[in-house]
Amino acid sequence: MKKSVLLMVLLCCMVAVPAGSNDCFSYPGTRVAYFSGCSCYACAYTGSGCTACTNGAGSCYTDGSTCEPGPLNQW
């Protein structure tokens, strides 16, 4: 029983580990700033651990919580 609880805790912790460089919320010390006029959120630092959205203003047309690639950001 104890082993299965330990396993569950371990799995939960693994899920909480950052999965990719595009997920600003996964990184410690980061925040998402809203930019008016662009109706847009973008990831920004408040510390180390997360680069700004690697695809530019990547979260601009979704829920503002993630930076994801899209046609908006391609040159």
Binding site: Y34, S36, Y41, Y45, G47, W75
Partner: protein, 341 residues
């Protein structure tokens, strides 16, 4: 006799201080592709460039209002960098406030991009780019505390170098923490000298064209917010919530932009009274106290903000009224052409 002379000097000084004024020549609401635009620069004596997130860089007739596309966005595709704008005879530069700026030579179609983590403001003179902002190195914000930079576009910004360092030290990360508040401004003068007004920390700095600091103005008593000392929870709240930010901004006097007038750097200070935005032009002189001009226009919104550019004595003011997070649609931008007398 001495008293008389002093009185005369005072009268002369006062008349000089109040000598300048701003007269509105035209005031139009922009429409179509130019309805929601972010920044403005003179393209020539008759036309302006503006940045549109949805349409790229547009050229707008100063008198006619006629609009044509300049580039940065293909038809049907948006322009993610088309927020901040800098223009010289040879180059056009755009930048989103975080991550990346994009530039092109005026006569060539190719877009160059350059990663720069946080851009509060920018400007261009010939091929020289001035950035007020901060960048990361090895996933750390400017370890040297640099907050303003100059580099050459001709050399692909390989020579980009800091010209101003944070007075509060690199650990404060003032641009990283407060850049989203669009706190300051930077601009070249016609002769290639330039002014930097950080806004997130005190004072204004004037450099000659070689990058030598030639004058510093203390801003603590000039009547506007010249520093960002917000506790971290408030930074988090203001960055994520535009309505909280609008409320915070409406209770303070803030820098919207700076103009390179012949008399000196002219700060455009923004304040909100009873839901109406007002602006004051505060001209910084090197040999006497600043002079103030109340700008002869207002905007009926607590979220209106101002960007501007000057060509000779003609000023283009762009009033932006974004409030799209509210139920109402953003109001179309207003382009005001005025004369500095």
């Amino acid at each position: 006799m001495v008293i008389c002379l002093r009185f005369l000097a005072l009268v002369l000084f006062a008349s000089t201080v109040h000598a300048q004024s701003v007269r509105v020549l035209s005031d139009r609401t922009l429409t179509g592709e130019a309805a929601l635009v972010h920044d403005v620069r003179w393209a020539s004596k008759d036309a302006l460039y503006v940045t549109s997130y949805s349409s790229g860089v547009l050229q707008v007739g100063a008198d006619s209002g006629a609009v044509q596309r300049v580039g940065f966005a293909e038809p049907g595709r948006r322009c993610p960098s088309c927020v901040l704008l800098g223009v010289s005879d040879t180059h056009i530069v755009t930048s989103f406030p975080v991550y990346k700026l994009a530039w092109k030579q005026t006569t060539k179609p190719r877009i160059h991009t350059f990663v720069f983590d946080a851009v509060v403001d920018l400007d261009v003179h010939d091929d020289r780019l001035l950035i007020l902002g901060s960048r990361t190195e090895d996933e750390k914000w400017a370890p040297d505390g640099a907050v303003a930079w100059v580099g050459s576009l001709q050399s692909d910004l390989k020579d980009l170098r800091p010209v101003l360092y944070s007075s509060r030290g690199p650990k404060e990360m003032t641009v990283a923490r407060c850049g989203f508040l669009e706190p300051g401004a930077a601009r070249f003068f016609e002769d290639g000298s330039y002014v930097v007004v950080p806004g997130f920390e005190p004072d204004a700095y004037l450099y000659d064209r070689t990058g030598k600091l030639i004058h510093t103005w203390q801003t603590a008593k000039l009547g506007f917010l010249d520093r960002c000392e917000l506790p971290e929870p408030q930074v988090q709240a203001l960055s994520a919530d535009p309505e909280q930010r609008a409320l915070w901004r409406s209770k303070r006097i803030l820098i919207d932009d700076v103009l390179p007038t012949r008399a000196g750097p002219a700060l455009l200070l923004h304040r909100v009274q009873k839901g109406v935005a007002h602006w004051t032009m505060l001209i910084l002189h090197r040999d006497r106290p600043p002079s103030r001009i109340e700008l002869p226009f207002t905007a009926p919104s607590d979220v209106a903000s101002l960007r501007a550019d000057i060509h000779g004595n003609r000023i283009a003011f762009l009033i932006r009224t974004f409030g799209e997070w509210r139920d109402t649609k953003p109001a179309p931008s207003r382009l005001i052409i005025a004369e500095l007398r």
